[in-house]
């Protein structure tokens, strides 16, 4: 099975993508990865090897809260929920990111 070439995630954007994805409600790790892939029209793929370390780091920082629950297919799964701190972080990172992207776009257009 061949995987389509996926572009590397921009460095530092993984946290932001996870936070954004969780804004709609708690999800488990697999669903987060799935959701990012789906919404980016299969362009962005989160590597599993970096997803779980990232999730744990975010829990340690207090942006997320992890709870055990039952998944849609009746399995025990760990759900991540956005905390108030996490929302603040998302707003901050999204703002930063938008400014950066706008700036890059500007340069690409004019130069």
């Amino acid at each position: 099975m061949t995987q389509p070439e996926t572009p590397q995630l921009l460095p530092g954007t993984l946290y932001m993508l996870i936070l954004r994805t969780l804004r709609g409600g708690p999800l488990h790790g697999y669903a987060i990865a799935r959701r990012i892939k789906d919404t980016s029209a299969e362009v962005l793929a989160v590597e599993e090897g970096s997803l779980y370390p990232a999730l744990n780091r975010m829990v340690v920082k207090g942006w997320l809260k992890a709870e055990w629950g039952t998944s849609e297919n009746n399995r025990k799964a760990r759900f991540y929920r956005l905390t108030a701190e996490g929302r603040r972080q998302l707003a901050e990172e999204a703002g930063e990111f938008n400014r950066l992207v706008d700036a890059i776009r500007l340069v690409m257009k004019t130069a």
Partner: protein, 865 residues
């Protein structure tokens, strides 16, 4: 905020690590299964789907390692695991661990104990409320001021409050049919309220009270059987009733410091008392401000109540703090620092030896483990990680050693605290482990870790993996040399310690056997303290003393009895006068020992009379004096002074009636001092009477009879009788303390150095097993093998000893101050003893390794190759 939460999260992780790992596994398995479900739906078999999902996921081990990283305090965990590893290593090699911990325990124990004693002695923190605003006041350069001055200054309201104390007075306590002389500190009745001295129970003396008493914990415990109902009890002191109102706690430290510890506090009774003054300064008043206020008040006092002889209170006024080093005058600072430095230096040497031992142990371990370390290096362990791992071992050693050393210190200081020093004043050290001590020992532990651990740790990783792996244990010559140097250095340092120890031991022997110039074997000393109020009339006291002497002399077994103002080597009076004689010499200022003695003193004390005679009872009218040889030579030169006249200052002429042999007055080690005796009777005498009794047989059997005889004369007097030989404690104290302290440190050093020597020799033999086996196989005789082992040990010992003796020769020079005359710091006897002891110890230390070398089986040894 965020940071704190993060730290808290990480700590919660530390506690529940196992659960976390399980959950992470579950979570990742769930992920793989979800992916597999998806793949299965797209048509794969379950087995293929699972395998594909796993492949996609990558290494779960790595993911979980990374995830765990997010939670960990990495260094802390590594430290914990290093410590666990070290603890396991210690369990596997208990001899190594035991020796190392023992060395550090002794080194750190000695250090902290000395530290506790020195700080307890020198840096007093008096028990009181807010000691920082208390200040000691001296006016006119005098330590004590009369009660009238105290009243004036207190009424002047210069400070928040002013109190006076007279720390050194005595009272007779009537307990049943016994009288006991107690050490009392008389205080103005505001003393307790001003200082806020904490009490174990009860209260302090209240303002205006005259007949209340506060007991020391020691008195309450030892003499009143820890009576819980002691408050309100009445004590009969000097014939008056006092009510107990409070008991001080065990750790009470007086405002005087240096371990001074009276039995009781009572209010000042008489207006002619002399008081040391202490003030409570307002919070914002500096010592300089306090001094200038005091200056003004004293000027006023000088004007209103001038003191005689041109002496002015304003001559010298000082206000100084009462805590720590401040409590000492500026002129005392240098000797105190010097003493402190010397003690710490000596103790530091011991710690140095201990550290050298541990370093040498760790070095041996590191070099015998070089293979293991090389393997770890080649498997990719970071060097810093290995160094940290080796350091963890020494950290564990240091922690255990410090803990054990602190226990020694606590036990030792508790033991010392129970012991009242054999001095004529009540000195009892209150030594408690405190915060500075804790900091000090932690510093020691850290220094030890760095000193003993770093070197071996770096050595162990320097060689590099491949070199060590290939070369096995052949090329460890540098490590060996380093260890030999360490042992040599240790021996040198312990030679210095031993030499000082032996020097003081020799000094003690000399001092004990030194002739004080009077007889101590057959003399008894009975001290009788009379209640001052009953003897206001001086004549009454003289009558008592005379009848006491008559009764004592009539006792069977008593050859003679006499009374004296002071007992030599226990207390003394020093006087300085302008002396003039009738042989025409110029008057000259002379410092001399002064004593008043009754007829028969020289006979009783066994001091030979060279010319002239003793005092006689008929001498009362004239002014006869007796001189010792030194005084006679100083004042009269070669002329026989008997029959000549001399003058002290502007006083009446003194007729010399006798010259006696020199004896010792202050210390046994002193050079001959001039001394002058006057008759006991005829001048005002204090209420402490000293009887000296010469017995025909052993003096100890007489003590009870003497006691009873004196008690019959005055039932309110406190009497204590002891053989003179047992009363030389004060005179021998410096030599005893020096010998005990430096002797035990020397022995400690020797023990540590021999452990080191033994360790290195044993290690050397183990390492050379192959070589020795080869030699035996090639026909070496046991004698040759022994020579091999001993040669190595004696070489090290000889080099270390030579260096040590040279060092000791230099280091002991300043000690001349403490030694009896005729004993040189470079005492050949002590130095010879050091060499002898070290030689013997090194032979013993080498014996076990030598025996081990003899037992080497050539077959076993050669099979290694």
């Amino acid at each position: 905020m965020a940071l704190w939460r993060e730290v808290a999260h990480r700590f919660s992780y530390l506690l529940g690590r196992g659960r976390f790992d399980r959950q992470l596994q579950d979570e990742m398995r769930f992920h793989v299964e979800c992916r597999a479900d998806e793949l299965e739906q797209s048509g794969m078999s379950r087995k293929d789907a699972l395998a594909a999902a796993r492949r996609e996921f990558g290494s779960p081990a790595r993911a979980s390692e990374d995830a765990r990283d997010a939670w960990q305090f990495r260094w802390l965990e590594e430290l914990l695991s290093d410590l666990r590893y070290a603890a396991r290593a210690f369990r596997r090699n208990p001899a190594f661990a035991f020796t190392g911990i023992l060395c550090l325990t002794l080194g750190i124990g000695a250090n902290t104990l000395l530290f506790s004693i020195t700080t307890g002695l020198l840096f007093n923190q008096p028990s009181s409320r807010d000691a920082a605003t208390l200040a000691a006041i001296r006016i006119g350069g005098n330590s004590h001021a009369p009660v009238s001055d105290y009243r004036f200054l207190r009424e002047a309201k210069l400070f928040d409050d002013l109190a006076g104390i007279n720390p050194e007075s005595q009272m007779n306590w009537r307990n049943g049919d016994q009288n006991r002389s107690l050490w009392t500190t008389t205080v103005t009745s505001n003393f307790f309220t001003m200082t806020g001295v904490p009490l174990a129970f009860g209260r302090g003396i209240a303002e205006g009270e005259k007949d209340t008493v506060v007991l020391s914990n020691g008195l309450w415990r030892t003499r009143l059987g820890s009576d819980p109902a002691v408050l309100g009890r009445s004590l009969l002191l000097d014939g008056r009733h006092f009510t107990v109102v409070g008991v001080l706690p065990d750790n009470h430290r007086t405002i005087i410091g240096i371990g001074f510890s009276p039995d009781l506090y009572v209010p000042v009774q008489k207006d002619d008392d002399m008081l040391m003054l202490y003030s409570r300064l307002p919070r914002d008043m500096s010592l300089a401000q306090a001094r200038s206020r005091l200056q003004g008040a004293c000027r006023e006092l000088d004007r209103l109540h001038p003191a005689g002889g041109g002496w002015k209170r304003t001559n010298e006024i000082s206000v100084s703090g009462v805590t720590g080093i401040e409590a000492f005058g500026r002129e005392m600072l240098m000797p105190i620092y010097a003493f402190f430095a010397m003690v710490m230096f000596v103790a530091g040497l011991v710690l140095l030896i201990a550290c050298a031992n541990v370093a040498s142990l760790l070095l041996a371990r590191a070099s015998s483990r070089s293979q293991e370390l090389a393997i770890r290096l080649s498997l990719g362990a970071r060097r810093s990680r290995i160094v940290r791992h080796l350091l963890a071992e020494s950290l564990l050693l240091a922690a255990l050693g410090t803990a054990a050393g602190l226990l020694i210190d606590i036990a030792g200081s508790a033991m010392l605290g129970r012991y009242r020093l054999p001095l004529p004043v009540p000195i009892q050290l209150v030594i408690e482990p405190d915060v500075p001590l804790l900091i000090y020992s932690i510093c020691l532990a850290l220094i030890t870790v760095l000193a003993a651990g770093l070197l071996p740790a770096f050595k162990a990783v320097r060689g590099g993996a491949s070199a060590t792996l290939k070369q096995d244990e052949h090329q460890t010559g540098r490590v060996w040399n380093l260890r030999a140097a360490l042992v040599g250095g240790q021996i040198a340092v312990s030679v210095v310690l031993l030499a000082t120890g032996f020097l003081f031991l020799h000094n003690l022997i000399r001092a004990t056997t030194m002739n004080p110039g009077f007889d101590v074997d057959r003399t008894l000393w009975a001290s009788m303290r009379l209640v001052p109020e009953s003897y206001k009339d001086q004549r009454k006291q003289e009558l008592l003393v005379q009848s006491a002497l008559e009764r004592l002399e009539s006792l069977p077994g008593v050859e003679s009895a006499t009374a004296a103002r002071s007992v030599p080597l226990n207390d003394s009076i020093m006087r300085g006068e302008d002396m003039r004689t009738d042989v025409g010499k110029q008057s000259r200022n002379t410092m001399f020992q002064y004593n008043r003695v009754s007829p028969g003193y020289f006979r009783t004390m066994g001091i030979p009379i060279l010319h002239g005679r003793e005092f006689a009872y008929a001498d009362g009218q004239g002014s006869p004096v007796i001189l010792n040889q030194a005084f006679a030579a100083l004042a009269f030169g070669t002329v026989d002074p008997v029959g000549h006249t001399m003058w002290a200052g502007n006083n009446a002429p003194l007729l010399v009636v006798g010259v006696v042999k020199n004896s010792k007055y202050l210390t046994l080690g002193e050079r001959d001092r001039p001394a002058l005796y006057e008759p006991y009777f005829g001048a005002a005498e204090p209420v402490n009477v000293n009887f000296l009794i010469r017995s025909a047989a052993s003096p100890a059997s007489l003590a009870r009879t003497v006691n009873a005889t004196l008690m019959q004369l005055d039932g309110s007097a406190a009497v204590e009788t002891k053989p003179m030989s047992g009363a030389l404690g004060l005179a021998l104290l410096p030599s005893r303390a020096g010998a005990a302290m430096l002797g035990s440190i020397g022995i400690l050093g020797l023990v540590l150095a021999s452990i080191g020597l033994y360790g290195i020799l044993l290690y050397a033999v183990v390492r050379r097993t192959r070589e020795i086996g080869l030699r035996v196989a090639l026909g070496a005789t046991p004698a040759q093998v022994i020579r091999l082992v001993f040669g190595q040990s004696l070489g090290m010992v000889a080099a270390g000893t030579a260096a040590g003796l040279a060092l000791a020769w230099l280091a002991t020079r300043p000690l001349a101050l403490f030694l009896v005359p005729g004993l040189s710091p470079a005492d050949p006897v002590s130095f010879a003893a050091v060499v002898g002891v070290l030689g013997a110890v090194s032979v013993v230390a080498a014996a076990a390794p030598a025996i081990r070398a003899l037992r080497v089986d050539p077959m076993v040894a050669l099979r290694y190759e």
